[in-house]
C-alpha cells in the first residue's frame, strides 16, 4: 500500500517536470536575439521569405497563444517540423536513433563492468599501489577532453595502424562485424569519462560499506573473504551506484553529441549540431524536447526500479 502511494506520488511529480521541460524548450526559440523569423531566414533573406517563415512557425501570433499551440501540438504527438530536412522532428530523430542507441549500448557495455570492477578493486585494496594506479587512471578519464582523445585515437588506430575506420556508420543489417568495427572506437573514447566517473564513485561507496559493522560482523562469523566482499559489501555498494545510473546515462548522451561529431556518425547528436549550423531551430527545439522527455521517463523508471529493489527505501 505504502509503495503504491509512493509510486503514484512519484508519477504525479513527473507531470509538472514534463510540463516545465516543454515550456523551457518553447522559450528556447524566443531567446534568439532579435526577430526569430529574421534569424532563421538569414540576414539577407527577402521580406517575403521572412514573412513566410513567420506564418509557418506561427511567430506572428501573440506569445501566450504560441505557447498554447505548442503544448497542444505536443499533446497530439506533433513535435514540430524541420525547416531544412522537410521531415517531421519525430521522424528525423527516429531515423537517427539506432546510431546513437548502438553507440550508447556498446559504450555502456564497456563502462559498467570496467568502471564498477575498477572501483571495487580499488576500494578493497585501499591505499595500495593497485588503488593508487586505478585512481590515477580514473582521474585521467574524467580530465582528458573526449574530442581530443578521439582525434589522437583516429591518428593512431585509423591513420597509422589502419585497424579501424576513421568514421562513418555501418548499419547492423549489413553485418554484425562491420557495424561493431564502425562503433568500437567512438564507444571506447566515449566510455573513458564514464569509466573514470563510475570507478571513482564505486570506490568511495565501497569504502563506506567496508567500514560498517556488518562487514566486521560477517568476517568475525568466519565468512569467507570472497563472500564478505562480494555478497555483503559489493551488493550494498551497488545502491548508491544505481542511484547514479541516470547521471551516467545523461553523461553518455551528452558525450555522444561530441563523439558523433568527430567520427561522423549520423546520430542524434550530429542531428542537433547540424540543425544549429543550418539555423533549423524547430529541429533543435524538437530534438532537445524529445531528449528531455526521454530522460524524465528514464529517471522515473530508475526510481521505480530503485523502489522495488531496495527495501529500505520502501519503508523509509
Amino acid at each position: 500500500m505504502r509503495e503504491l502511494r509512493r509510486l503514484s506520488l512519484r508519477f504525479l511529480n513527473a507531470v509538472p517536470v514534463i510540463l516545465l521541460v516543454a515550456v523551457l524548450t518553447f522559450f528556447l526559440m524566443h531567446l534568439l536575439p532579435g526577430d526569430p523569423a529574421v534569424v532563421i531566414a538569414g540576414q539577407d533573406a527577402s521580406p517575403q521569405a521572412v514573412a513566410r517563415i513567420r506564418t509557418q512557425l506561427g511567430l506572428d501570433r501573440p506569445l501566450p497563444e504560441q505557447l498554447l499551440v505548442w503544448l497542444a501540438n505536443l499533446a497530439r504527438g506533433n513535435f514540430g517540423t524541420s525547416l531544412a530536412l522537410n521531415q517531421s522532428v519525430l521522424a528525423a530523430v527516429l531515423d537517427r536513433l539506432p546510431v546513437t542507441l548502438s553507440l550508447a549500448a556498446i559504450s555502456l557495455a564497456i563502462t559498467v563492468p570496467l568502471g564498477i570492477g575498477a572501483g571495487v578493486i580499488a576500494g578493497y585494496k585501499r591505499n595500495t599501489w593497485i588503488d593508487q594506479s586505478v585512481m590515477v587512471i580514473a582521474l585521467l578519464g574524467v580530465s582528458l577532453p573526449g574530442f581530443w582523445i578521439a582525434i589522437l585515437s583516429v591518428i593512431l588506430f585509423s591513420v597509422q595502424l589502419k585497424w579501424l575506420p576513421s568514421g562513418g556508420y555501418v548499419p547492423l543489417a549489413q553485418g554484425a562485424w562491420p557495424w561493431f568495427a564502425s562503433l568500437i572506437q567512438p564507444a571506447v573514447v566515449l566510455a573513458l569519462f564514464q569509466i573514470g566517473f563510475l570507478a571513482r564513485m564505486t570506490r568511495s561507496a565501497m569504502l563506506d560499506v567496508l567500514d560498517q559493522d556488518f562487514i566486521r560482523a560477517a568476517r568475525a562469523r568466519g565468512v569467507s573473504e570472497w563472500s564478505a566482499v562480494i555478497k555483503h559489501a559489493f551488493r550494498n555498494t551497488l545502491i548508491p551506484v544505481v542511484t547514479a545510473a541516470g547521471i551516467i546515462l545523461s553523461l553518455l548522451i551528452g558525450g555522444s553529441v561530441i563523439v558523433e561529431q568527430v567520427f561522423a556518425l549520423p546520430g542524434i547528436g550530429r542531428l542537433i549540431v547540424q540543425a544549429i549550423l543550418a539555423r533549423d531551430y524547430p529541429l533543435v527545439q524538437g530534438t532537445m524536447l524529445l531528449l528531455g522527455f526521454a530522460f524524465v521517463a528514464i529517471n522515473l523508471l530508475l526510481d521505480i526500479v530503485y523502489l522495488l529493489v531496495d527495501p529500505r527505501v520502501r519503508y523509509e
Binding site: L20, L24, L31, L139, I155, Q261, I272, I276, L291
Partner: protein
C-alpha cells in the same frame, strides 16, 4: 620573557590560525592540483610578459613550422604561433571556467538554501531543477548557446544553466540537514527570522560542499567549453580558446599534429588540476561526502 619563548608563542599561534589550510597543503593531490592551477593561471595572466608574439598575427611565410627553438609549439596554417595562441587561449578558457563555477555556485546556493528554508518554494524549485537536469548538460548548453549566439558571454550563461541543478540539489541536501541541528533550532526559538537563519546559519555552514562542488564544476566547465568551441558553439575565431585551436588544427592533425596537441594538453592539465583540487578539498573539508558531482 625570553625572545625564544615569544617566537615559540607566535609559531604556536600561527599553527592554530589556519588548521584547514595546513591540512590541505599536506594533502598530496591538493598540492599537485594547486601547483598545476597556479602555473596555468599565472601563465594566463602574464601572457603578454611571457611572449611578445601577437596570437592573431598571421605570417604566411612561416606556415606549419614544427616545434623548434624559434617556434616553441610550432605554427598553424596561417603561420600564427601556437604557443602564443595556447597562452592567450588560457585567458578565455580559464575565465569561462571561473565565471561558470562562480555563477552556478551563487545561483545554485541561493536556490538550494532558499528551498530548504521555505518549504512552499521547495516543490516548484526542485521541479524546475528536475526539468533543467532532464537535458544532458552538454545538450542544454548547445541549445542555449546556439540560441544566444556564439560569444563567450552566452557560453557562460548556457553552462551556468546546465550546472545549476546539481549545485542546487547538493546545497539543498546539506541545508536540510543543518536546519534540523540544535543550534539552528535554538536560533529559531529565540526569535531569529527566516532570512537571518539563512544568512547566518545555513549559508555559512554549507560552504564546504559548495566549495567542493564549485571546484568540480570548474573542471567540467573547462572540458565543456572546449567541447562546445570544438563543434563551433563558443567564442568565435580568431580569438583563441583552447577548444577552437583544437578544432582548427583538426584537419591538419596528421601532418601538423602540434597545432591540436598542445591546446589539448593544456585543457587536460587544467581539468586535472581542478579535479585534484576538488578531491583534496572534499577529503579535508567533508570526508563523508560522495563524489556525486
Amino acid at each position: 620573557m625570553s625572545e625564544a619563548a615569544v617566537a615559540g608563542g607566535t609559531r604556536l599561534a600561527r599553527r592554530r590560525r589556519f588548521p584547514i589550510l595546513r591540512r590541505l597543503l599536506r594533502h598530496g593531490s591538493f598540492r599537485i592540483g594547486l601547483v598545476l592551477v597556479l602555473v596555468l593561471v599565472i601563465a594566463a595572466l602574464c601572457a603578454p610578459l611571457i611572449t611578445n608574439v601577437d596570437p592573431t598575427a598571421m605570417r604566411i611565410r612561416f606556415r606549419f613550422r614544427p616545434p623548434s627553438q624559434d617556434f616553441l609549439f610550432g605554427t598553424d596554417m596561417f603561420g600564427r604561433s601556437v604557443f602564443a595562441r595556447v597562452l592567450y587561449g588560457a585567458r578565455l578558457s580559464l575565465w569561462i571556467g571561473l565565471a561558470v563555477a562562480l555563477l552556478s555556485g551563487a545561483v545554485g546556493a541561493m536556490i538550494g538554501v532558499l528551498s530548504a528554508q521555505w518549504r512552499r518554494l521547495d516543490g516548484l524549485m526542485m521541479r524546475l531543477m528536475d526539468a533543467l537536469a532532464a537535458f544532458p548538460a552538454i545538450v542544454l548548453a548547445i541549445g542555449l548557446g546556439a540560441a544566444l549566439g556564439p560569444a563567450s558571454g552566452s557560453l557562460i550563461i548556457a553552462l551556468t544553466m546546465a550546472y545549476v541543478p546539481r549545485t542546487a540539489r547538493v546545497l539543498r541536501a546539506s541545508a536540510l540537514v543543518i536546519r534540523e541541528l540544535d543550534y539552528v533550532e535554538a536560533a529559531r526559538v529565540s526569535g531569529a527570522g527566516s532570512l537571518r537563519i539563512v544568512l547566518r546559519h545555513l549559508l555559512p555552514n554549507c560552504m564546504s560542499p559548495l566549495l567542493v562542488q564549485m571546484t568540480f564544476v570548474f573542471a567540467y566547465a573547462i572540458l565543456a567549453e572546449a567541447a562546445l568551441s570544438f563543434i563551433g558553439i563558443g567564442p568565435p575565431p580568431p580569438a583563441p580558446s583552447w577548444g577552437n585551436i583544437v578544432a582548427e588544427g583538426r584537419d591538419y592533425a596528421v601532418e601538423a599534429w602540434w597545432i591540436m596537441l598542445f591546446p589539448g594538453i593544456a585543457i587536460s592539465l587544467a581539468a586535472l588540476g581542478m579535479n585534484l583540487l576538488g578531491d583534496g578539498l572534499r577529503d579535508v573539508l567533508d570526508p563523508r561526502m560522495k563524489i556525486e558531482t
